[in-house]
């Protein structure tokens, strides 16, 4: 018996008075939710197929559609929730691993929402960002032990650094998990704002080589698309050991999403699944990692920073320390809430630790070992607004990676169905019918707007704190206070409770 018993998540409500049967919704839904019945000249919506992406609702010219959570309720049960029951039902039907997209949506504590910022009053005047210069520029990479100047000239050699006009970067989202139009938008936005974006493990499409100086090329466990020109194209190289959404396991791009162009970029046959293995099969110890880091540095003649991306797990502090000692120029940490195109649901929701704690313990450990200057920390995994950026930097990060926020700026409504390849917004798909919907120019403008807005807000908050340079905020835990956090949390984060003065 193949009766579907999982309860649909959403229902489509159509106001018949307003519906003009223009059929825009029918044409636009990639999940075939809306069908036009020719005989009755009415549109019937199959709510079972709705994923809650809201594309139809956004386009409807009369506002006749509302997508609601299905009010069909089970008896209230704090333990056996509707979601848990549905998951078991689906697994009983399919016998497979449940997949999902985007970041962990479970109510683990969001420490950012329990941290408050300072503002200057009386004793230390605040700064008006509209009148005074505010320095948001940041440099990532290995900083020197000390500066030596002779005759107004720098005596020592500085390792290659990455310059960011604002301390925010676009995180790794591979071409394959997202469309080429989305990649182009990210690349162009990075170029216009003066920051960098990350190729992810999908290789670099030939049309994107011209944005090379704003690109961080990733060398992941599957080594997709990694070859000499690829390494030379980017401004920096990132070795991906793990990501926040699925620590400990590798990446997966279903064969359906491997088109001719993906095949060329990733250098794999068309239609085959692109599986990245869990470990790099040539990195089984920290010494192996050091070997790879220096192999990449040699290959690029020490002209580019080489960093490592890891997921935030329990032993993040010693791991980060080992990585810095292995010669990495930057360490990218991806927290529990980091997003993904496809991951097993159970791993995404249960594995990893929140980024706030990870930043704090890593920063603290590296300072204690007096190696904090040897690498920059880039933190990502659920950075939602400019306040999160400020808090992350104050906890110890040099810059932040944003992923989900960038996609939402381009139109994503976080329906978490990226793995189906049917993204109606044209972002997480390779279907040419769908990818047209993302106009790279429009998307680029939206990303630039987002970063501009956040940068202005950061300046406002900095000014409020009496700080005029982002460098002065880095690791400045004293600007933060915890509100409603336990003693242990406070201790781990290294911040005082709200109410306590210096």
């Amino acid at each position: 018996m193949t009766k579907k018993t999982a309860i649909s998540e959403f229902i489509v409500e159509r106001d018949k008075e307003k519906c003009i049967t223009c059929q825009v919704c029918c044409r636009m839904c990639a999940n075939d939710v809306h069908i036009h019945d020719i005989e009755t000249d009415e549109i019937i919506s199959d709510s079972n197929k709705c994923v809650g992406c809201h594309f139809c609702e956004t386009l409807c010219p009369t506002g006749a559609l509302v997508i609601k959570r299905n009010p069909s309720e089970l008896k209230i049960n704090a333990n056996w929730t509707k979601e848990i029951i549905n998951d078991i039902t689906k697994q009983a039907e399919t016998g497979g691993v449940l997949l999902t997209g985007m970041g962990c949506d479970k109510p683990y504590p969001i420490y950012f929402d329990h941290i408050v910022l300072n503002a200057s009053q009386v004793t230390n005047p605040s700064i008006d960002p509209l009148r005074e210069p505010m320095e948001l520029r940041t440099y990532l990479g290995r900083k020197p032990e000390k500066i030596e100047i002779k005759d107004s000239k720098l005596e020592i050699e500085i390792a290659p650094l990455l310059r960011l006009e604002t301390p925010i970067l676009f995180t790794a989202m591979s071409y394959g998990s997202i469309s080429l139009n989305a990649c182009i938008a990210l690349a162009r936005a990075a170029e216009e704002v003066g920051i960098l974006y990350n190729t992810g493990e999908g290789g670099l499409h030939k049309d994107l080589y011209k944005y090379g100086k704003n690109t961080i090329v990733q060398c992941a466990s599957g080594r997709f698309g990694v070859y000499k020109e690829y390494l030379e194209a980017g401004a920096a190289i990132e070795i991906k050991i793990g990501q926040g959404a699925k620590p400990g396991i590798g990446g997966h791009l279903p064969g359906e999403k491997v088109s001719e162009e993906i095949s060329q970029t990733r250098m794999i046959p068309v239609g085959t699944d692109a599986l990245s293995p869990a470990p790099h099969h040539d990195i089984y110890s920290i010494e192996d990692l050091r070997q790879l880091i220096f192999a990449l540095k040699e290959a690029t003649r020490y002209k580019k920073p080489v960093g490592v991306k890891i997921a935030a797990v329990h032993n993040i502090a010693p791991i980060a320390s080992g990585i810095v000692r292995a010669g990495a120029d930057f360490v990218a940490i991806d927290g529990l809430r980091g997003g993904t195109g496809a991951a097993p649901k159970v791993i995404r929701d249960n594995v990893g630790i929140p980024i706030e704690l990870a930043i704090a313990v890593v920063d603290q450990r590296l300072r204690e070992e007096r190696i904090r200057h040897q690498a920059s920390i880039i933190a990502g995994g659920g950075i939602r607004n400019s306040a999160d950026v400020i808090k992350a930097i104050a906890l110890g990060a040099d810059a932040v990676y944003i992923g989900t926020a960038a996609l939402v700026a381009m139109g994503c409504h976080v329906c978490q169905k990226c793995y189906t390849g049917k993204c109606n917004w044209g972002i997480a798909t390779q279907d040419p019918y769908l990818t047209k919907r993302l106009n790279p120019e429009i998307a680029k403008n939206r990303l630039v707007n987002l970063l501009r807005a956040w940068s202005l807000e950061i300046k406002e908050m900095l000014g409020g704190m009496g700080i005029n340079a982002i460098e002065s905020l880095r690791g400045n835990r004293d600007q933060l206070r915890g509100a409603g956090l336990s003693d242990t949390d406070l201790k781990l984060l290294g911040i005082k409770p709200a109410g306590e003065a210096w």
Binding site: E17, T21, V24, T58, L59, T62, D431, K436
Partner: protein, 152 residues
């Protein structure tokens, strides 16, 4: 002669989603009531949009009168119904003069002139939404697949 400041509709088929919202708004603009719900549900016969949507596979685009500098329809019109608006440079059809001989349909290389199915036997085509600041199809395209730009 066409003024360099006059704008024309540029088609970018790479961005057309095939949603046909341009057609919806073109219909409303050329209806009696100009109200979207009344135009679709209340007016009979249903108003006729001037825009033509072409679709094939996943390729699609909206096509309307190009308001050509060297317009064939202006040459072919036997009644003087086709004329050029001085201000916008748009080629317009005066329905009071048109007798429906269809010479314009015969010569238009884009095939953007249609027979009016609703009101009377006249030629029907894009009029650049005369009176509006920007044609409604362009205003309502969600992906900027059609844009309004000055002639170079």
């Amino acid at each position: 002669m066409v003024d360099k400041n006059q704008k024309r509709i540029i088609i970018r088929e790479e961005y057309c989603m095939g949603c046909r919202l341009c057609e919806v708004y073109c219909l409303v603009q050329h209806s009696k009531t100009k109200n979207i719900i009344k135009a679709y549900k209340g007016e009979y016969p249903k108003p006729q949009p001037r825009i033509i949507i072409e679709e094939k596979g996943y390729l699609s685009f909206a096509l309307q009168c190009r308001h050509c500098e060297d317009a064939s329809c202006l040459e072919a019109c036997i009644t003087g119904a086709m004329y050029r608006d001085k201000k916008t440079g748009a080629v317009l059809c005066n329905e009071d003069k048109c007798v429906g001989c269809w010479m314009c349909i015969m010569v238009c290389p884009f095939g953007v002139i249609q027979r009016n199915r609703t009101t009377k036997k006249v030629a029907s085509k894009c009029d650049l939404c005369l009176g509006e600041e920007i044609p409604v199809c362009i205003k309502n395209c969600p992906n900027e697949a059609i844009i309004f730009k000055e002639m170079e």
